[in-house]
Amino acid sequence: MTPGLNHYLVVSGLLFSLGLLGVLGRRNLLIIYMGLELMLNAGNLALVSFSRFNENLNGQVMVFFTITVAAAEVAVGLALIVALYRKRQTAHVEDLTTLKF
Amino acid sequence: MVVDRKPLNWWERSYLPAIAGGFRVTWRHFANTVFRRKSVTMQYPEEKWVMPEGYRGAPYLVSDVDGHTKCVSCQLCEFICPPKAILITPPGPAGLAPDRPNAEKMPREFEINMLRCIFCGLCQEVCPEEAIFLQKDYSLTGLARGEMIYNKEKLLKLGGVDTGIQKWKQKLNEAREQEVFPVQGS
């Protein structure tokens, strides 16, 4: 069966869900962050496939923006995680307990 | 003491002159080697280095003009040897060698472990009989460790006959000179 728009979209939807699974299910900040990257990528895939099948290149431009934003976010985020690790020797969500009541 | 760095001007700080200099130097060497064949490397097994005077290689035993071993088993060299490469077996109570009854104590066995020897030359320094010399050999090879322990025969063979230095003649001359030493006045 020739893959059409919906095939690509289902892949992207599943990828999004996988990323969400990583965010919700895992406790390691780095892996959570990777899950977030997966979700962003799922968005990219959806954009590119729409862009292809709708014959509208604007979606690809949006992907370009997304990738850039993701890169910036990752840079800041990893710097933050490293700062956290320096302070607390952990990269685990459960250890973020300073701010509770 | 603090040595201030030489302040660089703008042009120097771009490091381009230094880089160009580097290119020049390396190019000179390259060209010398390739085009003028001025490489410093010898084609070793074919060409060999001519040892300079005074080169100190492996220590070998020498025999005197009569072809006799000069060593008298005093064991000073064995004692002084830093890596303990020398092993001397003195003649012991069994008596003197039958071939040289006049000699004092010719070693029954004299071994140098060339794997250990560091060519320091202390044995030569210390030898009262001038029986051991550092010679020009530097490339000692063997197929087994055992081969690298040179025994007396091998050492003597490699060492050859020493004609230049005759210690006892010297001593004799010195003794003679001492006889006219003004003793009586004392």
Binding site: - | V25, W27, H29, S39, V40
Partner: protein
């Protein structure tokens, strides 16, 4: 035999030629790598007033053609040595790393036009004629760092680790300078396709982009040194500090893969430089795409000659400059070359805009 091919289905022809090209390029690169190793040793020797390895020729004869048999000997040695895996390493990554290092280096070569044609205009002498050739190259090159990082990580030992960290930082940093430095080229050429870049320079020596973009070339060259971890930027390996860096724990064939990777990277960089700045396969007097087999081969030879010259430059530089300190390296990359490259882009863009108006 060749004649019969011409009557095949075009697609089949395409596949056949592509496969052939891939085979040839792969084989040639491997040969080139071993040659480069020998060449490096010999040139090094010459620069240091030595002779270098000149004895190993054809075995069991006295024929020693410049010692080129050394490359076989080296290869044999790598193959036959004991392959040693320390028991504290992370095994999977330890095995993965050398392979990851090697693959990108070869993949990079896919987009480089190493000749015009072999007479048939349909078969261009490039494995993949991509519109985004240069981006592809940079993408693949950027993957190369994984091998080194993983090697450092997998070795589970401090020197390889430091080497891996240094290397990844160095490669990421210089990738930026490198990428920025080539942008003016594409501003001038107007296409990301490397074939077009070569076409732009096909008018002869004076059309080579190195004259128009000396600064870009300069930056690219130095970034290439850093990307290939060559002296004076071989911090990741730096024998005197890190006893070999990321490949300290490697031996035998796995080490050989790193070695191959390094030289293949070097070849790739040189090919890139030749393509971007020195007219690619065009001879210095300029040329159109070849129409005969021999002209085509001549172009390939021309390309190879240029690449070899660039490689010699690499080798030459190795003996010229001392190793930089790590902070100096980073300083150079971030605070000198990136601004310079940006400046270059601005100026070029300005000029191009003026010129087009």
């Amino acid at each position: 035999m060749f004649e019969s091919v011409q009557y095949w289905d075009p697609a089949a022809q395409f596949v056949l030629f592509s496969a052939l090209k891939i085979l040839v390029v792969f084989g040639a690169t491997l040969t080139f790598v071993s040659l480069a190793v020998v060449a490096e040793r010999r040139v090094s020797a010459w620069i240091q007033d030595r002779v270098g390895p000149n004895r190993v020729g054809i075995p069991f004869t006295n024929i020693r053609f410049l010692g080129l048999g050394q490359m076989l000997a080296d290869g044999l040695k790598f193959l036959l040595k004991e392959d040693f895996t320390p028991n504290y390493v992370r095994t999977v990554y330890f095995w993965l790393a050398p392979a990851i290092t090697l693959i990108p280096a070869f993949l990079t070569l896919a987009v480089i036009p190493f000749g015009s044609t072999l007479g048939n205009p349909n078969n261009r002498m490039v494995i993949a004629n991509l519109n985004v050739g240069i981006l592809y190259t940079f993408g693949i090159v950027s993957l190369g760092v994984y091998g080194i990082v993983l090697a450092g990580y997998a070795s589970n030992s401090k020197y390889p680790f430091l080497g891996g960290i240094r290397s990844s930082a160095q490669m990421i940093s210089y990738e930026i300078a490198m990428g920025l430095s080539v942008i003016p080229i594409f501003l001038l050429v107007g296409s990301l396709n490397l074939g077009d870049v070569v076409g732009y320079q096909s008018g002869g020596l004076h059309t080579w982009l190195v004259w128009k973009q000396p600064l870009a070339f300069f930056i690219f060259l130095i970034a290439a040194f850093a990307e290939t971890n060559r002296l004076p930027f071989d911090m990741p390996e730096s024998e005197s500090e890190l006893i070999g860096g990321y490949h300290t724990e490697y031996s035998s064939m796995k080490f050989a893969l790193f070695f191959l990777g390094e030289y293949a990277n070097m070849i790739a960089s040189c090919s890139m430089m030749v393509t971007l700045f020195f007219g690619g396969w065009t001879p210095p007097w300029g040329a159109e795409a070849a129409t005969t087999l021999w002209a085509g081969l001549g172009h390939v030879a021309c390309f190879l000659a240029k690449v070899i010259s660039m490689m010699l430059l690499f080798i030459w530089v190795r003996w010229m400059l001392p190793r930089f300190r790590y902070d100096q390296l980073m300083d150079l990359g971030w605070r000198r070359f990136i601004p310079m490259a940006l400046f270059n882009i601005l100026v070029t863009a300005f000029v191009v805009a003026l010129w087009q108006r």
